[in-house]
Structure formats: C-alpha cells, structure tokens
Amino acid sequence: MSFLPVSYQALPGVVAGATHYVLEVMIILTILGVLTFYIYYLISSRKEAVEEAAGKEGYTDSSEYVRDKMYGRKRKADFSMFIYDDAKSIGLRYIFTGIAFLFLAGSFGVMMRVSLVDPNPVVISPVLYDIFLTQHATLMIYMFALGVGFGFAYYLLPSYLRLKKDNMGTLSSVAYWIWLLGGALFVVSRSSMRWYMYPPLSLQLTPYGAGMANWLAVIAMELIFIGITMASIIVLKIIFLDRADDMPLSKMPIFAWSIVFTLIMVVSSDPPLMVGLGMLFYDFFNPVFFTASSNTVLNFAILFWFWGHPIVYIAVLPFFGLIYEIIQKFTGGKVYSYSSAIIGMGTLLIFSELVWGHHLLNSGLGVDWVLFFTTTSFVVVIPSAISVFNWIATLWTADRIRLSTPMLFVINAIFDFILGGIEGVMLANDSFNEIAHGTYFVTGHFHFIFVGMTLGVTMAVFYMLYPTFSGGRVYNERLAKWHFYITAFGSFLMSFSWSVGGFLGMPRAVAGYFPFFQPYQDSAIIGGVIIGIGQLVFLYNIATSWLKKPVTDTNNAFETVEDIPAAVSEAEPLAKDTQAVNGGE
C-alpha cells in the first residue's frame, strides 16, 4: 500500500460500518467476560472461606477481617490481591496492572518504531499510527507511570509509616476498578486524538479525525481521573492521619514525602481538566464551548496544560523518592541531606503549577507570559539539581556501593535524568523552543527521563520486592543484568537519536519523515526494538524463576521485620481458614 493521498486504497478484507464495529467490540468483551468469570470462579470459593472465618470471629464485614488479619504482613502476589482490599493488596493490584499496561503500551511503541522503517508509511497506515501514538502516550502516563506510583505508595507506605489502622480498603478498591475501567475503555475507543485531546480535532468522530469512538475516550479519561483523585485523597489520608504516633512529619521517609507532593499535585491540578473534559463532551452534542465563535480552542489547551505539566512531574516524582530510598539501601548510609531532599521536591511541586505555559510558548500567549513561563521553567532547574546533587553526594560519601541490578538501574536513571533535564532546559528557551517544539527533540527529552527514570526505577523496585512477591524466590541475577544493560543501551540509543534528529528538524508525531532523517530514525528503531527485547528478558526471568523452589525468606530491603510492628505476629501461624484462603501454603 502506498502513501495515501489518494483514498480508496482500503485494507483488503476489512469491512467498515457501525455494525461490524459493534460486533468486534462484542467479541472482545465476550472474551474478557469469560476470562473474568473464570477468575471469579477461582476466587469465589476462597471468598466464602474468608466470610466463614470472619463470621466465626464476630466480624460482620469480611473485608475488615481481612484487613485486620493481613495488617503488617508482607504480602505475596497471587490472585487473592483482587479480592482482598487491604492496602498491600491494593498496591499489588496497581503494580501488576501498571506493568501489564507497560507491556501493552510498550508494544504499541515498538509497533510505531517498526512502522517507520521507510520514510513513507508502508507498514501501517497513518491513521493506525495516530492511534498507536495516542494509546502509547496515554496508557504509559495514566496507566503505567501513575499506576505503578500508586502501587508502590499503597504497598510500601503501610510498612514505612507503621499505620495505626487500615480502614479505607473498600474505597481504594472502588478507585482501582474505576481507574482500570477507564484505561480499558480508552483502548476500546481506539482514539487518535493525541494525549492532549485538543478540540476541534477531538470533536471529529471519524477515523481521519480523532477516531470513531472518541466520545468513549473522553468518558474513559474522566473515569481515570475519578479513580486517581479518589486514590490520591485516600493515600493522603493514610499519610497524614494514619501514620504511627511516634513518626512526626519531619522524620517521615523521603518516599512518603515524594508521594505527598505528588498527590497534592494530582488533587490540585486535575479539576481544571476534569471540567474541561466535561465541556468537551458537551461539545460533541452542542458545540458551545471550545469551537463556538465566542470562544477559542486555546482555552482548552490552557485547561489541559494546567494539568498536563503537573502530570509530567507526577510521573517522575514518586521515583525521585524511590531513588533516595534505594540509594540508602545500597550504600548502607543515610541520605546526604534529608531536608534538602524535601525542599527540592517541595519546590518542584510549587513550580509544577507555574511552568505549564511553556508547552504553549508558540501559541501566541504574548511576550509577558512567555517571559514569565520561560523564567519559571529555568528556575525549575534549581530544585531538580538539588535532588541530583543530593543523590550524587549520597553516593560520593558512601563507604561502598553495591552494584547489583536495582542500583545499576538507579545510576542509569540519574544519568538519563541529567541528559533529559538539560534538553528540557534548552527547550525552556523560547527562541529555541520555536524551532524544536514540533520535532523529535521533545520526544528525546521526555523519553530520556521516562524510560530512564520511570521505567528504570520501577524495574529496580520490582526486583527488590521480588522475593516478597514470589514468596521467597530469587530472580536470575545474570538475566537481570542483561535486562538492565539492554534497556539502558536501547533507551540511550533511541532517545539520543531522536535528540540529534530533532535538533536537525525531524518532525515528531507523524507517520512518515523526509529521507534525509533516515539514519536518525533507523537508529531510533533499533533502540526501540532493543528496549522491547530487554523487557522480554525481564518477563522470561520472572516467569522462570517463579517456577523454582523458594530459596530465601520473604523479606525485602524495603520492609524489614523491624520496620513492621505487627510482623511480630508472623511468628504465630495464621488461622487455618486464612491459610486456606492464601492457597493452602
């Protein structure tokens, strides 16, 4: 199929029409329904056992019984995380769902890369490319980065903060399912409106517009927002009201602080876009808001970026906190400066609300506002540099650094963050932004940070928690090292090629390119495929090592026995019925 300025070169065998679309959705929903029923069948017997046991001990609410029983225990990953709603089970749900979406959105990304082997879109059509682009971006940010961030918060904070009680499980569970439903519906919508949903494109319900079911994508985004807002408020409540009495805010772990800042950003910045999405949805039926003659589509862009810049920090800030924690574990010392860590991340929270205009520097905001946003964007360097120098100082002053896989991921994350951060500062310069804004330079900038930091630190924490997840198994260190080296090399190659090509003017977010840019695209394709292969190594490692016998205890570096007061009760065997619940092990 050649490039398609001429129409009617339809894909053979594909039949268009609303009827077929509905049929297709029905088939997929049926498959999902059968799977869900099977899982329900698997867990319903366990649920009955739990209810019986809860009744014997006088609980009317079996969830409360589970939360009391599971409280303070290190939590193994199995199917029961989808029925239990103690904080750790919720955390496991978020972590594993996030990783599933990482692989889904990652496969979309690899597909996009592969489709660019030729300057003309010969592999997939431009419409499909746009869909992959939208899905990759949205799923990676909202389902992977946010999901894993929430997962680590729910999983680690009960141990870190020695919670007094764990009583918001049902609401957390509801928030999780709403969030997951939103993510699933976003895939079903096959929207191609880009992750920032600008009208009037997002109002065009055609394949060449934003997708036939783009209205569904807008609903899906609202669901995601409802889910994350609920979860944010619950986690903030856990941190501020439920932590142990002997833990003042000034002694809270840095990770808890990073979560506080992240969630304040969520609850303070997402209302504008939630309102904007509601107006956008109304515009489908009665276009009075953004496309009316009395209004401008720039208003939506402003509503979006008021949330859109904080979400970028939301996707990295929990991982700032995790880097601080991991470095402490692998150097055996304390972090170099606790207070500057908190100040650095806290200032980032303030600036995240003040720099959103740098996404719209070319939209005609006026010189005054451009100066304001450019200046604040430059000032953001200070809190970021505070964190970077704090990490470096912690490593510098350490007696020895253990370079096992998680630490390698963290060091690579710091390296990539510096590179991507410097590119970000360059982009904050308005005169350069005007040239580079529409190019792969921007793509290279945020992929350095997202692949290096968000993905890398997620993998580091997953490896560190793996013995607990798997009930005492260890991953293959050799394969894990391969996973690291492949991912780090691939991500550097891909982002660096994009940065160089973008500097020369390679336009981003399009299904083709000028043949002049072939070398940069080709090396980025190789990099992207290499990242994909690296994640397959990870999956293989996890699958095979989980099959082996447990060889160690289920402790992990994050939640040692001393950290958890209730872990004393681990000496007592669980009640028999609870053992049955846990799979009879």
Binding site: S107, L128, V187, R190, Q204, G211, S470, A543, L547
Partner: protein, 231 residues
C-alpha cells in the same frame, strides 16, 4: 512449597493483553469509508437510483421508478463529485458500492468495455477488490420502500468503475466510465442508448436537478467549500 506458576501467569496475561490490544487496534477502521480531504473537484453531479433486487433502477421521470432503465451505464469527466441518492424500492437490504476496475486500456478495463456482460459472469472478480468503497451502506437503508439515503463519490482517476450492490451482485451492477480527456468544460453525463449527453457542468447539474427532481444535498457554494471528511 514447590514451584509456583505466578510468573508464568503474569507472562501469559501480558501476552494475551498485548495480542488482544494489538489485534483490536490494527483492525481499526482506517481508510475505508472515508472520502479524501484534499479532493478538489471540477464538476458536480447528482444521480438518483432506485435500489431494486432485480437491478438498479434509473428513473425516467420524477418519482417514476418502475419505467426506468435497469443498470444504466454512466459517463463522467475526471474530477466529478457525484452525489448519489438511493431510494429503496423493495424490502431487501442493499448497498451502493463502487469499485475501480482499472484504466480503460488495462486488461480488465478493455474486456469490460468490449463485453459488459463479463462482470455478470464472475462477480467476485470485482466485488472484493481492495479499492472498493461503499457509498450507501446497508445500515443507512431501512428496508422500507420509498426511503432514501445519500452518499457521495469523487471520481479522481480515469478508467472503468463498477457499481453494484454487495447483497445482490449478480443482478444489481453496472459500469461507470471516467474520461480523462480534458477537451472542453463539459461533463459527460449519464447516457441512454449509448449516446453520451454533453452538457456544461453547472448547466447539467441544474437541468438534471430540474428534470429529475433529484435532491442536491447542498448549495453549490457549500459544496465547493466543504470539507469532505466525516460525511
């Protein structure tokens, strides 16, 4: 506690998720059913057809379907945007689908010109062509006689086209010839008895409209300034 399949389950779930997601996205409707956005047409025409399982009915007068020509042949200039109004004459499902068979000099094109009956002998050779486009879909029609649905098709390339109904491909089919020669500003319009009627573009539109009471969906000004996506 022996080996546990937790990791394998995770891997399987991820593989299933990727497979389902990829298949679903790759099967998205893309180019089919879409008129091009950048098509600048020179001529506009309107045709009113009666959808009848016995053959496409071309009315000879206003609301006079039964005495029409069955499966007429049409002639257009390159660059003509044709509005199709399809009125249902029976209670059966129909589509109006148009496919490009090739240039008039290609094998299939010349053989069709020489012997239009060929298309009746092997309907599948054109029915599943990858370059077909359904102007009026099955879901636009109601199986209620008298109901009319509309669509449009821009003829951008010279050559031989076939129009047919995918439900009744052996009876409801006909040929469309699109002429590339640009002599004059006329539109070669539908013809009866193999004699093309030459008319000026706008005149032909108006006279045709007047003569057959066909519905022109928009004014000329709107049509020329129209964005063709999302019809």
């Amino acid at each position: 506690m022996e080996g546990n399949k937790g990791g394998v389950t995770l891997a399987l779930v991820i593989i299933v998720v990727i497979a389902l997601g990829m298949t679903y996205i790759l099967s998205a409707p893309t180019v089919e059913g879409i008129t091009p956005t950048n098509f600048s047409h020179k001529y506009v025409a309107s045709v009113h057809l009666g959808a009848n399982a016995n053959g496409w009915d071309f009315p000879t007068g206003p609301y006079n379907f039964d005495n029409g020509t069955v499966n007429p042949t049409f002639y257009y200039k390159v660059g003509t945007l044709v509005y199709y109004n399809v009125t249902e004459e029976d209670d059966l499902p129909h589509t109006l689908t148009i496919g490009y068979d090739g240039s008039a000099t290609s094998t299939i094109g010349s053989s069709l010109i020489a012997n239009p009956g060929l298309i009746k002998k092997s309907p599948t050779s054109y029915e599943f062509t990858s370059k077909s486009y359904t102007v009026v879909t099955e879901s636009q029609l109601t199986q209620v006689p008298g109901h009319t649905a509309s669509g449009k098709y821009p003829f951008q390339t010279a050559g031989v086209y076939t129009y047919w109904c995918t439900v009744h491909p052996t009876t409801m089919f006909g040929l469309i010839f699109v002429n590339a020669t640009s002599a004059g500003t006329s539109v070669q319009f539908h013809q009866l008895n193999n004699t093309p009627v030459l008319q000026n573009g706008l005149d032909s539109l108006n006279s045709f409209n007047f003569k057959y009471q066909c519905t022109i969906p928009n004014t000329i000004a709107t049509i020329t300034g129209e964005n063709f996506e999302g019809q």
